[in-house]
Amino acid sequence: MINIRWYKVLNDLAGNKTRTLLIVLSMAVGLFAVGVILSARSILSRGLAESFAAINPSTGVVRTGETFDEQFLASVRSMHDVQAADARRNLAARIEIAPDEWKNISIFVVPDYNEIQVNKIEPDTGAWPPPEREILIERAALQVIHAQVGDTVRIKLANDTIREMKISGTAYDPAQMPAQLDGTPYGYVSTETLDWLGESFGFNELYVIASNPEDEEWSRQVVNQVKDKAERIGLTIPMTMTAEPGQLPMDDILQAILALMGILGVLSLSLSVFLVVNTVSALLAQQKRQIGVMKAIGGSSLQLLGMYLVMVMAYGAFALLLAIPLGIYGARALSQSMAYYFNFDLASMDIPMQSIVLQGIVGLALPVIASLVPFISSLRISPAEAMSLYRTGKGRFGTNPVDRMISGRNLWFARDFPVRSFLLSLRNTFRSKGRLLLTLITLTLGSATFISVFSVRSSLTSTVDEMMKWFNFDVMITFGRSYRSEELQQLARQLPGVYETDTWQQLTVRRVRPDGSEGSMIYMFAPSPDSKLISSPGLAEGRWLLPSDQNAVVVSSALFIEEPDLKLGDNIVLKLYGDEFTFKIIGVSIGTSFGTIMYANYDYVSRITDRAGESDALMVSMSTHDPESVLSASSALERLYESNGLRVNTVDTMFVERAQAEAIFDTIVSLLLVMAVLMALVGGLGLMGTMSINVLERTREIGILRAIGAPNRGVAQVFIMEGIAIGLMSWLFGALLAVPMSGALNLAVGTSMMGTPLTYSYSVSGMLIWLVAVFFLSTLASYIPARNASRLTVREVLGYE
């Protein structure tokens, strides 16, 4: 037989089921959010890294201008500092994704798909390895080329040969950037198919793993050794690339997401902490008289403290029983959907122990700490005071200016209109200021997080707008080589509907670092600074190009992620067509790292590259900008140039480019929507729980109101108005707090993804959605317990403890 005091604990838990349920739910929802976010963050960061490691990723890539054979590959493999090496043929081709609409595709040729040592490709669906004269498509690329397994597609090679090929299956190639993110689909064919396509076999891409793959600097040196070796046998090297150890192809997005999840994890943890503190304080306030009675019959502080600590720990334990399994389920579902976006199979979905432990600490230890403060304060007062104060409050209301202001004495409408119940609600709201403050902090945090999540989403759209706004044209065509600018423009103007044309130079450059190593490929656009079709892109700092500028460049902020030693005003050495030139960074534009971009003056670039008067890119502005006419014009332009013997490389329409840029953010936006729903759940249930506990606490007061003749509806009205008043205050404070909070989130997401904060945009729609939610939830949260209380008889209500 256990001691009687523990029966009180048990009976309190079981006896007041509504209260227990509300407290447990309020705690559980916060713990659930913490569990989902922290576990998903850990699964993603660890699971993706493990999955990536499983493909034996290369630490460096060397691309050759000419093809090489197995013998050279074997010699690279035998190098002392090379742990492993593998080679492929990367064939640039185009694929028809709709009648007359072609898209660039990279086709890989591997001699033996089952013997790949580096950057392993796995079978996914259908045939494996690729059968002769058929093609496998990377699984994430099917949606980009609008095709299914079994379809036959037309492939156009650089030599203008067009072949029809059946898609006989899909492959899983995690080393490539997911097609929906960078827009490039990947295909895989056999060496026999390469013969059939009219190309002779040979490799042009070498994947290397250095002997110490964890050391990026060492990897770079090894790649340089391989590059030197290739150059010694007469190969030209247009590109070398070194990856950070274990860095995934879409690491920037992943880092942005992890940063976002980290911040939201901390926010939901704080929210959870306040929910716990709030509910425990409400519980102790409600039990104040009983504490007084127990002290009066000889209960010591230690005994009572033990009872209430066990009680709050029991609430925490129940909440954990709900939150841990649901959190595990939620974290796995979230990780799975993120992995799908990243085109990754998660090797492990193990929930990290730290996440469970943290939930346990928040769920068990925190309520104990939270209850210590109100408990100690309730211990300070004598049992006599505890018992006499309980019934309808301390009676200190009216002693400060806020109380006097809302007393209604000085409010003209209080005299002329029947607003007594409104004023009573308002005064009730402010009566217990400590509790109000605690409730408001909790709800404000929830409101601010919800609105901030919406604001980050809106800021992402604004950032895309900023990034795209400098394109004042509809179609951009790049050519296989430079042509006379005048010829390009004259041909375009023959097409009906063409409004304006302009040309520029577009080339790929690489940074040559002070140690002689080369950075990743950078797209350099060299327009005329006074072009009508290109205005200044959104600048994070510095200025746009002037006609008088010579070796000046405006670089996209993403460059600084890869080259952190650079900053505005620095000189940068760039390799253009094999020669090195020094440029000065005069401006920084906002941009993602997928295809880092820089801008230079046409006159200067065309002069140093001996291409004065020539261009390799054409911009066309149409008189109508709807997607259909732009698309048909782009196809017509491509045919026009090809029929005139000019080699078209790519045809891009700006609405597709925009969709592409948005697709990069889609993953984050989807995650943000999940987070917004989660925060709404936490904030909403927190709001409902807090309000309901507040009303339950005042059941006796409801009895008094009814005893003095207030009708049921009137009583409910007083409490609903009070709930709405608290809800609206939290919304207002939350909307204000969301201003800096969104800024912090924008900084975290933007910096990890683009090296600069996102273009700030406060989400008014998010604010309004939350206003409606707050109104609805406050009403519901106050109505249900107030209605229940008003249904009791006056005698029952007055006897309520």
Binding site: N3, I4, R5, K8, K295, I297, G298, G299, S382, G799
Partner: protein
């Protein structure tokens, strides 16, 4: 209430005559919005063992404050309270709670039984707090007390299932759980009808006969007449000591 009288086990220690409870210049000042309010203005009072003392007076006269001082439920502003050799005014709240749990039983106007415990459990609780006996012994004693106050059949009900009179009987049984020397009752009949109130007062008389000192607070003259001694308070001062 014959059951208490007929039980020989309830015959207590032989009464020592002489002042057992002694209050010397007890002052209690409460802070309030309008400034400090002196609820007790230097009370001097002696109560003997076995007395059924009634503290009477109008509302606001300081009756409840006085009983709270004697029970240690509230601290005094100045003065001394002695119960036997024990200087209650020197106790800190924690020691006061412990001492009270063993030596004083308290009964409130609104019964104040814990709503989530059964009547039996309510009576066992003070014994648990005082760490007296093991749970089965506590249960046996509680059942015995409930039998003495004639509500044994309600032992396993919760307070809300009982009438006001029955709840007050349970509250008296709870107050007697640790066999205290002193029972303090603050308006114990204030929420009851007159016939129920009479039966409750019978219990107090019986307890007094068995040696328990009872101090009862009331504003009701009829109730006051049942005491062996009436102390009348007015504006925080004793105006009629006996």
């Amino acid at each position: 209430m014959t059951s208490l009288k007929s039980d020989p086990k309830n015959k207590k220690k032989k009464l020592d005559k002489g002042h057992w409870i002694s209050l010397k210049q007890v002052v209690k000042i409460y802070p309030s919005l309008a400034g400090p309010v002196t609820a007790l203005k230097g009370i001097d009072l002696q109560i003997d063992r076995g007395d059924f003392a009634v503290i009477a007076g109008k509302s606001g006269s300081g009756k409840t404050t006085l009983i709270n001082m004697i029970s240690g439920l509230d601290g005094l502003s100045s003065g001394e309270i002695w119960i036997g050799e024990v200087a209650l005014h020197q106790f800190d709240p924690e020691s006061a709670a412990h001492w009270r749990g063993i030596n004083i039983g308290v009964v409130f106007q609104t019964f104040d039984l814990l709503p989530t415990l059964t009547i039996l459990q309510n009576v066992m609780l003070p014994m648990d707090f005082a760490r007296r006996n093991n749970p089965p012994q506590q249960r046996e004693r509680a059942l015995q007390l409930l039998k003495q106050v004639d509500i044994l059949e309600h032992a396993y009900k919760t307070p809300s299932a009982l009438s006001g009179g029955q709840q007050q009987r349970a509250a008296i049984a709870r107050a007697m759980a640790n066999d205290p020397m002193l029972l303090l009752a603050d308006e114990p009949t204030g929420s009851l009808d007159s016939s129920t109130a009479d039966s409750i007062l019978d219990i107090f008389e019986t307890l007094t006969d068995q040696g328990t000192t009872v101090i009862l607070v009331t504003h009701d003259r009829d109730v006051a007449r049942r005491g062996s001694r009436v102390i009348t308070l007015s504006d925080g001062e004793i105006v009629h000591p006996s």
